[in-house]
């Protein structure tokens, strides 16, 4: 399969990338590691006229401790995040999940920023950033702005990043408590049929997010409020799919996904309550 014809420009800096986005508007797409965009282009589900390659902006590949937060450059590849000492120490759930994305070849190319900006509800990393209560930093013509992860994912493959903006950094709070990532799939390297992330946050709350349970990556709101009201893990997990409309596809029906969400959230909450992580 061969993508439709496009023009290609390589950005030398964030400013250069933003200038190219400004110049080409809706016709342009940013290319990072290419492991979400190129498969869509090969299937011709995406046919951008202009690819702006930001894959060489090494200045956006970093994992840094900044006070109580960890800052991750948008072009940090999954493999680099997986083995980052800072991530493993301060946000082990993020390093762990980075090591569960796709397979080694995918992790050598794919980037956290690319995965999050793609906004795929079936991707693992957006759910982790949601469960960590993270913030997404975008740069654009008006300068930098910060978007809470709860306001970032706006629809299927749609985010709050404007066409002339670029995601440059992901910020998450360090965690000290338990965490759990439960991924259910049929094939080793595949996307999750359903996934669940639970994190014991510093403020004492437990945050829970779900993979592939709706049009966007999302927080399990009913479970979180049940926990806040004193529910046991089993009680809170029983409402995990409340209000959600997961997709039906060749891998799983909507009903099956709802069932999986309850089972995986229960396992994740039991893990967290036992202090695992």
């Amino acid at each position: 399969m061969i993508p439709a014809t496009f023009d290609y420009r390589r950005a030398d800096s964030v400013a250069d990338a933003l200038a190219l986005l400004h110049e080409y508007g809706d016709e342009a797409k940013l290319l990072a590691g290419g492991h979400s965009l190129l498969p869509l282009m090969k299937l011709r589900l995406a046919t951008p006229q202009m690819l702006v390659d930001v894959g060489r902006l090494g200045q956006l590949s970093y994992v840094r401790q900044e006070g109580d937060e960890v800052a991750i450059g948008a072009l940090t590849r999954h493999r680099d995040l997986e083995v980052s000492e800072v991530a493993r120490h301060s946000v082990p759930v993020l390093a762990h999940v980075a090591g569960q994305v796709g397979d080694p070849q995918v992790r050598h190319r794919g980037t956290i920023g690319g995965s999050i900006a793609h906004g795929d509800p079936a991707s693992d990393l957006p759910a982790v950033v949601l469960a960590l209560g993270g913030t997404l930093v975008v740069d654009g013509p008006g300068g930098r702005r910060e978007i809470p992860s709860t306001e970032f994912f706006t629809g299927f493959l749609e985010t709050a990043v404007r066409p002339d903006e670029m995601l440059v950094e992901i910020r998450v709070a360090s965690t000290a408590g338990g965490w759990s990532f439960q991924k259910f799939n049929r094939r080793a390297q595949d996307w999750a049929i359903v996934g669940a992330v639970a994190v014991a946050a510093a403020d004492g709350a437990t945050r829970v997010s779900l993979v592939h349970m709706g049009a966007t990556p999302l927080r399990a709101a009913a479970t979180e409020s049940a926990l806040a009201g004193g529910a046991t893990p089993a009680e809170a997990a029983a409402v995990a799919a409340e209000g959600l409309e997961p997709p039906s596809d060749a891998n799983a029906s909507r009903e099956y996904r709802r069932h999986l969400a309850e089972v995986l959230v229960r396992r994740a909450l039991e893990d967290v309550s036992l202090g695992h992580g």
């Binding site: 014809t5 190129l38 894959g55 796709g102």
Partner: protein, 160 residues
């Protein structure tokens, strides 16, 4: 667009369309047909090559993204024409192939895996090769071969 890269130690420079995939560049432009195309959807790993030393699926990399990079394909792995790379040698000795279609990709993925984990456990080998499919399902001997190439103990009968 003009791209230059070193493939198997030899410098190449060509004018290519931006949409040309790395695997097509290697096979059709350079004539290096050892790298196979299997699924063409980033799943099977048959097209795995080393890009600056790490395994990638060359069906999901544009040739322009590899501009300036160093690429190693199955043709460039052996140290000389009459020699095999240790991973190739181990695949041969442990019968790590049946039809052979997945083999170039398996060997490249295993080489990258051993660079990251020089002494892997059997579990690490199995998980480390999750991006490569063998439709003959000859995984047991592939795992044996990779463990042998690492100089580790090779199970007589695989555990899993």
């Amino acid at each position: 667009m003009r791209v230059g890269m070193t493939v198997n130690g030899k410098a190449h420079e060509q004018e290519v369309e931006p949409r040309l995939l790395l695997v097509h560049y290697l096979r059709d432009v350079l004539g290096l047909t050892g790298t196979n195309i299997g699924c063409d959807t980033t799943s099977c790993g048959a097209c795995t090559v080393l890009l600056d030393g790490v395994s990638v699926k060359s069906c999901t990399v544009l040739a322009v993204q590899a501009d300036g990079a160093s690429v190693t394909t199955i043709e460039g792995l052996a140290p000389g024409p009459d020699q095999l790379h240790p991973v190739q040698q181990a695949f041969r000795e442990h019968h790590g192939l049946q039809c052979g279609y997945c083999t170039p990709g398996m060997v490249m993925a295993a080489t990258s895996l051993l660079a990251e984990h020089p002494h892997p456990t059997e579990q690490q080998v199995r998980e480390g090769l999750e991006g490569n499919l063998c439709r003959c399902t000859g995984y047991h001997n592939i795992v044996k071969a990779v463990l042998a190439a690492a100089g580790g103990e090779v199970p007589k009968e695989p555990v899993a």
